[in-house]
Amino acid sequence: MSTDSVEPRNAGGVAVSAAMVAAADSQGATDTTATVADVNGARRASMSAGATGPASANSADGTVYDLGYAPHEGPRLGRSAAIRTMIIDGSRRALGLRRKPWTKVIPWALIAAAVVPAAWVVALTFVAAGFTLEDAGPFGDPAEFFAIIGNLTMMFLALVAPTLLIPDRENGVLAIYASRPVRAIDYLLARGAALALLASLFILIPHTILYFGISALYVDGFGAGLLENGKEIPAILGTTAAYVLGYGAPAFLVAVFVRRVAIASGVYLLLMFMSGALLEITPRATEQLVFKLLAPFSLLWNPWSVRDWLFDREPEQLVLDRVGLEPWVGAIAIVAIAIVTGIIAHRKYRETF
């Protein structure tokens, strides 16, 4: 028997790729057991039958090459590249891209439900004579539009969060992640980032369409409209963050524990609507401590409170208002719930990594 050291290895006796074989062939190399030195002057390509096993088989029809194995001699990127890769993969999976056709149906139907009405309103501004901002209804007011897009976002997250986390766990793919140079926190950050990215785009794309469309309605011109509506961009971005984090964190938390995508979606929606029921049971202008303590757990309404705060609107008598808390408490509650979600998820996933 023979043993070797584990000092950095070179070609390992075999370094040939399809390109090299083609190059070697074009140079008249017909016997792959011979040494192919410096093909194209770029890579070492030394291979032997001993290293590759049966390296070639000559027949009357030609030569069948065993392409062997080419060691990777280029750079290895770090964890940040791995995280970026996981974000891209997560986004593709959630949207069903490069997946089976049926996986595209629900996410793209929801995207269409978010984008098409906004695009339709914009189209009307150009084709319908006398179409005004008032005619656009909630589509004409970014703050009001959050009431529509928020519910759609919740449904989108109910699908996306479980899709990002559950299949990896249930199909044993986490074992592959655990064998790669990534940690549990990298994986969770990447999945969370994919979720946040998609949900943000889900909200902001229709907003962007409406921004340009509504600006076109301004009597002072399109440029003036852009400037005027542009003042609301910070509030739109802040409210988007509140919706993404406020609705996304609970979806993520449910997906960490539930084993089936469909069940996780159902559990999440049930949780959100149950928290929404806090609005029904909380008396107006109450001073009772129990309601004050429960109010920040109003998962459904917290982003609404943040919206009212950022757009400087008259509060809609949501749960926080009823117990006498300021709307910004909703923002704190959202961040706190997101942090707790991250801690719980990490505790669960670090057992696997």
């Binding site: 043993t3 390992g12 006796g13 997946r99 299949p167 074992a175």
Partner: protein
């Protein structure tokens, strides 16, 4: 200087009150290693400790000269892993998943695409590269798992029961693939309870029984003894005692004795012992000591 592939120093792993690994100590050289043990012996636990997935309760472990606990990420950059079960997303094509697996290990996108294509060719799945992994047969899945384990060009690949669930043809293909890895400069640690598979692919053997390492040696040192089967008519006890006294290892089953000598001619020894004891001979058969023989011998001793 030769750095051992794996160094274990008093490695212990406990799950609550259950101790899965009981103070493993040893140095394993860079070669093709077979990790042998019964179900529940601690093989999979050891593999997870080597990958840094499980933290040792006590002791230390170094892989490729790196501390697994301190340099987990660096170790994982140089190690591949083929899990026993699962590991493949059914909704992704083989090509896409290989590219992804390579990029996860830090291979740049362009190189990842090339490597994915190369390893799928290597494992015989190039024609199937655009099929969804969920549509693969068991044999194809095992080959895809092996491909993902080597797609990032590791120095060491840990294969956890790579032949489980395969039909004879699939086993043969997988064994040939594993056998070729050393030629590529990739060392293997193959866990299996099918000893003939280990025998055909490995040249170093690590035996674990009940969480203890009972053997860490070259395979040929374990199987090199010359074994002869003898069926003795009478005086069996006397024949056995004298053979043992003359330095032979004897495994007795009734009147049948498997006689192994590490040095000298076993036939000559048996002839002399039978003459001295007056034992009658009814059968004399040459035998080759297999890993299975050695495993059961070692297991009895343990």
């Amino acid at each position: 200087m030769t750095t051992p592939l794996i160094e274990l120093d008093g490695l212990m792993k406990a799950y609550g009150g259950h101790v899965a690994l009981k103070g493993l100590t040893g140095s394993i050289p860079a070669t093709s290693i077979g990790l042998v043990g019964a179900n529940g012996a601690g093989k999979s636990t050891l593999m997870k400790v080597l990958l840094g997935i499980l933290k040792p309760t006590a002791g230390s472990v170094r892989v490729l000269g790196l501390s697994v606990t301190d340099d987990t990420i660096a170790v994982r950059e140089r190690v591949g892993y083929m899990p026993e079960r699962g590991g493949l997303p059914p909704d992704q094509t083989a090509a896409d998943f290989m590219i992804y697996a390579a990029q996860l290990a830090g291979i740049p996108p362009r190189a990842a695409r090339q490597r994915a294509s190369d390893v799928l060719t290597l494992v015989g799945l190039h024609e199937e590269r655009f099929r969804y992994l969920g549509d693969f047969s068991t044999g194809m899945m095992q080959r895809a798992l092996l491909a993902q384990a080597i797609v990032h060009d590791p120095d060491l690949v840990l294969l956890d029961e790579p032949l489980s669930g395969l039909d004879p043809e699939g086993r043969d293909q997988m064994l040939r693939l594993i056998g070729r890895l050393k030629g590529f400069g990739i060392y293997t640690l193959v866990s299996s309870h099918v000893l003939t598979d280990i025998e055909s692919t490995c040249d170093w053997i690590v035996m674990i029984e009940g969480g203890r390492m009972i053997r860490n040696s070259p395979l040929d040192a374990l199987t090199s003894g010359q074994t002869v089967g003898v069926e003795v008519l009478d005086q069996v006890d006397a024949v056995e005692s004298l053979l043992v006294a003359r330095g032979a290892a004897v495994h007795r089953r009734g009147h049948h004795l498997d006689v192994t000598v590490s040095d000298g001619d076993p036939y000559d020894l048996i002839n002399r012992v039978l003459a001295e004891t007056g034992g009658g001979l009814s059968l004399l058969k040459a035998g080759v000591k297999t890993l299975e023989d050695a495993y059961f011998e070692e297991g009895r001793i343990a």
